[in-house]
């Protein structure tokens, strides 16, 4: 018993230390918001006020911020699953975008089927996105081609093809927007916090976190996936079919991205708008890195990123900076988040 208690205390201590290190990194990133505002804005106080408090000032902005975190949760989960198995999925941009387009088109043509059609359209979107990521997994399994590079290249090409499909064959001529036709009214998710965009997709995202958590820690397949990621040789000699875990996690990862894209259509956009998902894939990756691939940590990490984006948007609307300062802040996070020196800053040396 005493030993167990000691172990529990040790786990808590590591948790606090890791958390402190990550908080430090996020604080450094936020300090850069202040520096950038002082350098770039003529009214820095106003800019900072809108950046930090804008997303929290009323239910409209707050709801929109929460809504912005939904695709990041899906993306973060997707990348986490892949990383846990030792794979890297860099194709989030293409997967989320193609998943969204497939879901939109299927939803329009499956409208007569009602709720079954809505469900099918989501599944089809996730499948296409999953297959897209699966290609990279397959290439790695078959010929050891780096999935990191192939998933990125494939995604870049797919984004361009989807752009073409949206602005060409599937363009809705009745609007001036570069977008497809809208999905049927009956398929749209109810709003949770009007007048904001926040939709029922949020509980679905939280459900997805629970499912991924249970899969990773409570199923045989999840165990095998984690083992393969921790030590592929150990896993292989332990009798795990490691080749399978080069493909399956990539497919799941892509499918989660695709689902995120599909739900963004059902909950927020109602049509595939050209480049609507631009940046979501990369942010999903950042979220997974901050969360250190832990599904439960994906939610706070996604909220942090959504907060930065919402803050930048609010500062852009009310002050004189552009939205892209969010990208700079995010890049600072990327710079520091994998640093062993910073992450171990609070651990005592020589004591394990």
């Amino acid at each position: 018993m005493a030993r167990e208690k000691k172990l529990a205390r040790k786990t808590i201590r590591t948790f606090v230390r890791e958390g402190a290190a990550i908080l430090l990194i996020l604080t450094i990133a936020l300090v850069w918001v202040i520096i950038l505002s002082l350098l770039l804005s003529k009214t820095p106080a106003k800019t900072l006020g809108y950046f930090f408090l804008g997303p929290l000032q009323n239910t409209y902005y707050f709801g929109n911020m929460l809504n912005g975190s939904i695709p990041l949760i899906f993306g973060g989960l997707g990348v986490s699953l892949a990383m846990r198995s030792g794979n890297f999925n860099l194709g989030g941009e293409g997967q989320i975008y193609s998943g969204a387009l497939v879901t939109t088109l299927c939803a329009i043509s499956l409208a007569p089927l009602g709720i079954v059609g809505a469900f099918l359209a989501l599944v089809l979107g996730a499948l296409v996105a999953g297959a897209l990521a699966g290609v990279s997994g397959f290439l790695r399994m078959q010929w050891n081609t780096s999935e990191l590079i192939t998933s990125f290249l494939l995604s870049n090409a797919v984004v361009l093809v989807v752009n073409h499909l949206i602005s060409g064959p599937f363009l809705d001529p009745s609007t001036s927007l570069m977008a497809t036709r809208k999905i049927p009214e009956a398929f749209r998710l109810p709003l949770l916090l009007p007048p904001s965009n926040l939709s029922m997709a949020l509980p679905i995202a939280i459900l997805a976190v629970v499912v991924v958590q249970l899969y990773l820690y409570k199923t045989k397949s999840g165990y095998e996936l984690r083992m393969t990621g921790l030590n592929p040789f150990f896993a292989k000699y332990g009798g795990i079919d490691t080749r399978r875990y080069m493909v399956l996690p990539m497919v799941l990862s892509g499918a989660l991205y695709g689902l995120g894209g599909g739900l963004a259509i059902y909950g927020t956009y109602y049509a595939s708008i050209k480049e609507f998902s631009s940046g979501m894939g990369w942010n999903g990756l950042a979220v997974a890195l901050i969360a250190k691939s832990k599904p439960t940590a994906v939610i706070p990490a996604a909220l942090f990123f959504a907060y930065i984006e919402a803050g930048a948007r609010s500062a852009m609307l009310h002050s004189d900076v552009t939205f892209e300062i969010a990208a700079i802040v995010q890049s600072i996070v990327f710079f520091l988040i994998s640093s062993e020196v910073l992450l171990n800053l609070f651990t005592k040396r020589g004591k394990q």
Binding site: N156, A157, E324, A326, V341
Partner: protein
Amino acid sequence: MQFTIPILHSAVTIMTPLLLASMGGLFTELTGMLNIALEGLLLMGAFSSVICSHYTGSMVVGTLLGIACTMGLSAILAVVTLNLKSNVFITGLAVNLLSAGLTVVLCFSLFGNKGVVVFDNIPSLPLLGTPSLARIPILGDIFIGHSAFVYLSWLLLGICYYTLYGTPFGFRFRATGLHQEALSALGLSPNRYKFFAFLISGFTCGLGGAMLTLNLGAFVPNITAGKGWIALVIIFLGNKKPLGLLLAALVFGLADAFSNYAQGALQVPSDFILALPYLLTLLAMVGSSIYAKKKGAIES
């Protein structure tokens, strides 16, 4: 067949930034680091050199300052990666994200514009070549009459080859990637060579980026459009050898030049043409890994 000569001529222009970026990337690759920051470094080079040319009124000074800015960014990348012991892949992503964001933010605060910024005071790049050389049939048409960047890239390729294969400095570089411990055993610091490699990447990407914008006399957001990634693939396809880089860069230059031509002549959607470099790169990656696997199977 009249169109082949202009295509070849523009292929030589198009391949130059790719060749330059891949040369810098070769050094980081040889020290055992996958440098995905090439894209961001190129973009930073493109932006800073055109801005500096605009404000100093001289393309030479502007290019030099642009190179200095890009080397500064690569030095940050090196310090964070080596001294703070970060994952080079993730810090590389950070550089790409930072360049994409910073260039737009600075464009907006300097010119109040997030789109294309045209600089009227930047003249078009002078094209070099003596008439007597240009009169050589075919070869003269293809290789003469380019900007200084093109010839500079060839010169640098020679220097790169000599450095890597003819100097102790180059041997140590290659040793860093092959067997880091051997270097440490000699009392040399592997991290020092890695640091140099990042600086060299910054230098060549600064130069390559400068060519992109000075050619246009304008800055376009995301003007690099994946060129840094293609440079990375060129390193793999070129089998991590300087002359291989030249060949692989030429292949991409040709593909790009041809697709530019096809866009005008054939009725292919422009998005598909833009997607072509990525798909070709993908095919090349798969092809080279199949080859590597077959070769490995024979050897073992």
